[in-house]
C-alpha cells in the first residue's frame, strides 16, 4: 500500500457496502426494470425504496422478484440467479430462459448492476475470470447483461486487497464486454464513464479528487 493510501485512510470515511448499496438504490427510478447480479450487488435489493415500484428481473425467468421468503415459505422451485429462494410480487411473471435472455440481450432492461474485477476508462468491464490458470472459469449471464442492458452499473470496492486500483486505463483481465459500463459505485467514489474517461460524480466524505487521482493513477475529471 502506498503512502498516499495510508494517509487517505486516516482522513477519509469510505462508504461501507451497505452505504454503496443505498447510493445505488437511490438512483434507480420508479418503473425501472433492473437485473441485480450475484455477489455484492445483491445488497441493493434490501435497500430499494418501498414507495417506488421497481421490477427486478432474474435471468432464470422471473420479472417482479420479491424479497427472501420466510422460513415456512421456502420453495426450491422459486429461486434467483444465485440459486437462493425468493418470492414473487403480485403481478410478477415466470417465463423460460429463451424469453429471459430476449429480455436481457434485447435491450429491455433499464439497468444491470454487476460486480467487477476491473473497469477501464473506456468502459470495458472484466468480471468473470482472472488470469489464474487454476481457477474454474464461469461466465453465466454477465456477458449478456453487459451488451444488453441500457445502463450497466458496477458495484465494487475500488482497491484490491493489495491496494491496486480496479479502475484502470485498460483491463488486464479477460473482458466481459466492451465499453459497456455507464457508472461505477465504489467505496471511494461514484464515477461516470464519459468519452473514454472517468468523471467523479460523488466522493466519499473527506476524499479529495487529487487523492482519488493518486490512488488510481488516472486523470479523473471533476463532475
Amino acid at each position: 500500500m502506498s503512502d498516499v493510501a495510508s494517509t487517505v485512510a486516516t482522513d477519509v470515511k469510505l462508504w461501507t457496502r451497505a452505504e454503496m448499496a443505498q447510493l445505488i438504490a437511490n438512483d434507480i427510478p420508479e418503473g425501472a426494470v433492473v437485473n441485480i447480479g450475484i455477489g455484492m450487488p445483491e445488497l441493493v435489493a434490501d435497500c430499494l425504496p418501498s414507495d417506488k415500484e421497481i421490477l427486478l428481473q432474474s435471468e432464470n425467468g422471473l420479472l417482479g422478484m420479491g424479497p427472501k421468503p420466510g422460513a415456512n415459505e421456502i420453495d426450491w422451485d422459486l429461486i434467483n440467479a444465485g440459486k437462493q429462494p425468493v418470492t414473487l410480487l403480485e403481478g410478477g411473471a415466470i417465463f423460460d430462459h429463451t424469453l429471459s435472455f430476449t429480455m436481457m440481450r434485447g435491450g429491455h432492461l433499464d439497468i444491470a448492476i454487476l460486480g467487477a474485477f476491473q473497469v477501464a476508462e473506456n468502459g470495458d468491464l472484466a468480471n468473470w475470470a482472472t488470469n489464474d490458470p487454476n481457477a474454474i472459469p464461469a461466465v453465466g449471464g454477465a456477458m449478456d447483461l453487459a451488451v444488453g442492458a441500457s445502463r450497466v452499473f458496477v458495484m465494487m470496492e475500488m482497491l484490491t486487497k493489495k491496494g491496486e486500483s480496479k479502475l484502470v486505463e485498460r483491463c488486464t483481465y479477460p473482458l466481459t464486454g466492451l465499453g459497456c459500463v455507464s457508472r461505477v459505485y465504489s467505496d471511494h467514489a461514484v464515477l461516470d464513464v464519459v468519452d473514454g474517461g472517468f468523471t467523479a460524480v460523488k466522493l466519499a466524505p473527506g476524499l479529495t479528487l487529487e487523492a482519488l487521482r493518486q490512488l488510481t493513477g488516472l486523470p479523473i475529471r471533476a463532475a
Binding site: 432464470n60 422451485d77 422459486l78 429461486i79 461466465v139 466492451l178
Partner: protein, 225 residues
C-alpha cells in the same frame, strides 16, 4: 392412439448409446431431472457430452453423473459453484473437457437448433476471449459473433405435469431451460410429477406442445434438490 407415456425411467433412457450429446434441463437444482439422471447412471453409457447450465453441485444429479465417469465433455455457462467439487476435481485433473458458453448464447444456440436456424450473429461475447477464433461482423456499428446451434441427441427435462400426447406445463422457475431443450433434441424425455388425462391441461397454458416431446414418465412430487 398416441401414447408417449412410459412405465418407468429406465425404459426412457434404455436406447441412449455411448457418445451421445445429452441436453439436461435445470438451473441449479430447480428443474433438474434427477430421476432420469439416476436412470442414465444405471444404464451407464460412456463418453457423453452433457449440455446444461451448471455442471452439478453436491453429490446428486449431474454431479453423480460426472462422478460415475460417464462424461467426456461439458458444455455449460457456470460450472463453478460453492459445492461443485466433483466437476472441479475432474476438470483440474484434465479428465473433463469444458466448453464455456455465455448463458444467453447457450440458450440461443439451443433455440437455433430447435428452430432450424443454421447460425446467428450475437453481440454477447464480442471482443472477449469467448469470440477467439470465431467469425465476427459489424452490423449497424455494433460488433457481433457468429455462433452455431447446439443439437442434442437426447434431452432430459423436468416438468410438473404432462399428458399422453407429450404436452407439458412447468412449475415456477423450474421451467428455465426445459422448453428450449425440448425443441433442440432428436428425442426429448420429460419426467413429470403427474400424467394427467388428455384435455385436462388448459390449451392456453401449455408451455411445451406435444410435438416437441417423445417420452413422458411420472415420478411423483418430492425431490427438488
Amino acid at each position: 392412439m398416441i401414447d408417449k407415456t412410459k412405465p418407468d425411467t429406465a425404459s426412457c433412457v434404455a436406447d441412449i448409446p455411448d457418445g451421445s450429446t445429452i441436453l439436461v434441463g435445470g438451473f441449479g437444482g430447480a428443474g433438474m431431472p434427477l430421476d432420469l439422471i439416476d436412470a442414465l447412471i444405471a444404464r451407464a453409457p460412456k463418453e457423453l457430452t452433457i449440455v446444461s447450465n451448471n455442471a452439478g453441485n453436491g453429490t446428486k444429479g449431474l454431479a453423480a453423473l460426472l462422478a460415475a465417469g460417464l462424461v467426456r465433455k461439458v458444455i455449460c455457462s457456470f460450472p463453478r459453484q460453492a459445492d461443485s467439487h466433483v466437476f472441479d476435481g475432474l476438470y483440474r485433473a484434465g479428465k473433463l473437457e469444458l466448453e464455456l458458453v455465455p448463458q444467453g448464447n447457450l440458450v440461443e444456440r439451443l433455440r437455433a437448433a430447435g428452430a432450424g436456424i443454421g447460425a446467428f450473429f450475437t453481440p454477447t461475447g464480442y471482443g472477449t476471449p469467448i469470440a477467439d477464433g470465431k467469425e465476427t461482423r459489424v452490423i449497424d456499428g455494433r460488433g457481433y459473433v457468429l455462433e452455431y446451434p447446439i443439437k442434442g441427441d437426447f434431452a432430459l427435462i423436468k416438468a410438473q405435469r404432462g399428458d399422453r400426447w407429450g404436452n407439458l406445463v412447468y412449475r415456477k422457475t423450474a421451467r428455465n431451460f426445459g422448453p428450449v431443450m425440448a425443441t433442440a433434441a432428436k428425442v426429448t424425455v420429460a419426467q413429470v410429477e403427474d400424467i394427467v388425462p388428455l384435455g385436462s391441461l388448459d390449451p392456453e397454458g401449455i408451455v411445451t406442445p406435444g410435438a416437441f416431446v417423445d417420452r413422458v414418465v411420472a415420478v411423483g412430487a418430492g425431490r427438488t434438490q
